[in-house]
């Protein structure tokens, strides 16, 4: 038993760390650590920098631009990025659409899309959820009707993260409403967002931010070449994607950075003339979060080690990283808001200048992060998965 990274792994970590120090643009970093929204231009600028280094799609096969790193290196890379305050590239292109194309796409589809995803030329978004199909994804209703060499799409998607930036969207649509099993009438289709008939409508969340959208499809004509895999086999594709690597879902690196920021904040805030960090009640809360995070880090490393040894992902147990990881994130955002005290109250857009920009983002951050236990398979769905697969219930 040895909990330390190997010498090569530590060297790799230093290399990533050093590279980030030089290449991560300071204005982007400031936005990330200050909890501000990034623009499409920010994401794309950062993507281009990574692509130039050959680091935009580490997990891809080497022939398509992957780095050939093993699981541990990829984990270290993610962790260093998070610690440094580098934005995570939106996963929809590189980590969601691309693995699907690599597994199920035609060579023409791969040639058309993969290089542009790698280079950050196209901004991809995900069209899965619908008003009536959230956790129960197989209930999707958005209809795709085959008309000649096109599909005609009608319906609606919701919760489309960064949909306002989308150049392309991959969607689960219903191609056979008559199918005996709901899962057998679904297809996986790619659409150019500039196609006539697509409307994006912002959904403003309680933090005031514009992060998610509704997307409406009104007789949208999509060439049949944009179907991925076979018609009515979209569920196979979706399942493959859901089972895809989720090792990063504990967000250990980001939580470490945010916990450090919380400590700094609690150092600065005074309670009865003394730093809040010395307050017993507050200290206990921070300690418990930190310990949960320590445990999460070791649990993640145990899974990594298991994958390294067996070549197998640890399956349903990975869901516990998502559950605990998001709980830790939410606890940190809540404590940060509490640490801000009365300064947590002013709403930033109408009270500019009353409190400093960082403090003013703490409550919106808390509000925003209630999403974490809801998205990417709600924590209740994750518990269902563990109950069924790990506990045999």
């Amino acid at each position: 038993m040895d909990l330390n990274y190997s010498q090569e792994e530590t060297k790799f970590r230093e290399e990533v760390h050093h590279w980030l120090k030089i290449n991560l643009p300071e204005d982007i970093r400031q936005k990330v650590i200050g909890y501000q929204e990034l623009t499409k231009e920010d994401y794309q600028r950062w993507h281009k920098i990574l692509a130039a280094k050959g680091w935009s799609v580490p997990h891809w096969p080497v022939e398509w631009g992957g780095t050939g790193w093993d699981m541990t290196q990829r984990y270290i890379y993610d962790e260093e990025f998070a610690l440094a305050g580098a934005p995570r590239l939106p996963p929809f292109g590189p980590a969601m659409c691309a693995p699907v194309l690599l597994k199920f796409g035609t060579s023409a589809q791969k040639e058309q899309f993969l290089p542009r995803i790698r280079e950050g030329d196209d901004f991809w978004v995900q069209g899965y959820s619908e008003p009536g199909a959230g956790s129960d994804l197989a209930a999707v209703k958005t209809r795709a009707e085959r008309v000649g060499d096109h599909y005609v799409i009608n319906g609606q998607k919701i919760w489309t993260t960064l949909g306002q930036h989308g150049d392309w969207i991959f969607c689960l649509v219903r191609t056979d409403p008559q199918a005996e099993k709901r899962q057998e009438g679904i297809s996986f289709i790619l659409m150019n967002m500039k196609t006539p008939g697509i409307t994006v409508r912002p959904l403003i969340l309680m933090d005031g931010g514009h992060e998610v959208n509704e997307i409406f499809f009104d007789n949208v004509k999509v060439p049949v070449q944009n179907l991925v895999f076979e018609e009515n086999k979209g569920w196979t594709v979706a399942k493959y994607l859901l089972g895809h690597e989720r090792m990063g879902s504990g967000s250990v690196g980001a939580s470490r950075r945010e916990l450090a920021a919380l400590r700094t904040l609690a150092q600065r805030e005074l309670k009865n003339g003394k730093p809040l960090i010395e307050d017993l009640r507050f200290k206990d809360k921070i300690s418990r979060v930190e310990i949960e995070l320590d445990a999460l880090e070791i649990t993640s490393m145990r899974f990594l080690d298991q994958m390294r040894r067996t070549g197998q992902a640890p399956g349903a147990d990975v869901s516990m990283l998502k559950i605990r990881g998001t709980e830790v994130q939410q606890m940190i955002t809540e404590l940060a808001m509490q640490a801000a005290g009365p300064n947590a109250q002013p709403f930033v857009s109408v009270s500019n200048g009353v409190v400093d920009p960082f403090t003013s983002r703490l409550t919106p951050r808390y509000l925003n992060f209630r999403k974490a236990s809801i998205y990417a398979g709600s924590n209740e769905i994750q518990r269902n998965i563990i109950a069924k697969m790990s506990l045999g219930l």
Binding site: D305, I386, S390
Partner: protein
């Protein structure tokens, strides 16, 4: 990075586990607890024969020079079986203190017997009214013409009645010191009792106990760092034991809900219960991660504050987890979980006591914050 146990570590734990399943079953354990001594001489001898008592002693003392990691899986097996032998007290505490502080003569006197199973020790350090404090305050030793006189009392000394010698922490004008005290010596009085979780303990009173100069273990006034280290080491082992007990509670609960039927279906089919069992499972895995961290840190001799911090962190996690898992396992067993008949109620008691042993969550939160 490697979380796998070595072949030897696995084999050892397997043998211990097999032995315990056969010879320390729930029924046999009951008989042991209600026997006069409250411990099993046969089990102790087997532990010694398997090399468990020698595992973490140095090679110079004819031990195997192993660390907490080497005993981690063994402790887990002991936790599953709810072993009530004073193993932790001998191997984690007293034996370690003798081996690290003792002179050649003291080590030669006590350790061979510990290794071969013929001699047991107990560590007397808790004092009435001072909760989990390690530093002695109510037990005093005075130097008297090259010898010592010991006065005071200790409480909850696990395994005192089955031990021939006690290691007693006492305050001298130089500070906290440790003394080897024969349990039969004049002026030593044992008042034995049983804990909620089936361990034999004793309150021990010392009135004008005269000790030879060679009863002093290590230097006068220099015991605290050793006591702290040994307690951290034992706490790390206790954390591993707790993981085993939690696993036992979880397994029992899963089995139970799968066979217990109400409303015509196994109660395992109810989502309200499923999610609670998932929570127990995740909590146990997170606790296991912290137990691993603690074991690896107590084996790292180069970083004392890192060791203390990791052990306190682990103990906090274990205390919280033990509480959740034990309470939920009884709740999900329904009325049956309350009964003496089912093992789960015994696991409940053990986990409840583990949560407090060597300091509860609040105690360690304070220590953890001071070290941060």
């Amino acid at each position: 990075m490697n979380f796998e146990l070595t072949q030897e570590q696995k084999q050892l734990a397997d043998s211990v586990s097999k032995y315990l399943i056969n010879e320390y079953s729930f029924e046999k354990r009951k008989a042991i607890i209600s026997s006069e001594s409250g411990v099993s001489a046969a089990a102790w001898q087997t532990f010694a024969d398997m090399g468990l008592t020698a595992m973490t002693l140095s090679e110079a003392d004819n031990g195997f020079g192993g660390g907490a990691i080497d005993l981690m899986a063994v402790m887990e097996a002991m936790g599953e079986a709810l072993v009530v032998e004073p193993f932790l007290d001998n191997v984690g505490l007293a034996g370690r203190l003798v081996s690290r502080m003792g002179s050649d003569a003291q080590r030669a006197k006590l350790l061979p017997g510990l290794i071969d199973g013929s001699e047991r020790l107990a560590f007397a350090y808790l004092e009435q009214g001072h909760r989990y404090q390690l530093a002695p305050q109510l037990t005093l030793a005075k130097s008297n013409a090259g010898a010592w006189v010991l006065n005071g009392r200790k409480c909850l000394v696990t395994g005192a009645a089955s031990a021939r010698h006690l290691l007693v922490s006492a305050l001298t004008p130089q500070g906290a010191s440790l003394f080897i005290v024969d349990t039969q010596a004049a002026g030593v009085e044992l008042n034995p009792s049983r804990t909620v979780d089936g361990f034999r303990v004793a309150d021990v009173a010392f009135s004008n106990v005269s000790l030879h100069a060679d009863a002093l273990l290590g230097d006068d006034g220099a015991a605290m760092p050793f006591i702290e280290e040994a307690t951290d080491f034992a706490t790390a082992l206790l954390c591993a034991e707790a993981v085993g007990a939690m696993k036992s509670a979880n397994d029992a609960t899963l089995d139970y809900v799968k066979q217990r039927k109400q409303f015509g279906v196994p109660i395992a089919s109810f989502q309200a219960l499923q999610h609670r069992m998932v929570e127990m499972y995740i909590t146990t895995e997170q606790a296991r991660s912290m137990a691993i961290l603690a074991a690896s840190k107590v084996d790292d001799k180069t970083n004392a504050s890192g060791r203390a911090r990791a052990v306190s962190a682990a103990k906090i996690k274990i205390a919280d987890a033990a509480r959740l898992v034990s309470q939920e396992s009884v709740q999900l067993h329904g009325g049956m979980g309350m009964t003496e008949e089912l093992k789960v109620s015994h696991t409940f008691r053990r986990l409840t006591m583990i949560a407090q042993q060597f300091g509860d969550a609040d105690h360690h939160l304070e220590r953890y914050a001071d070290l941060t």
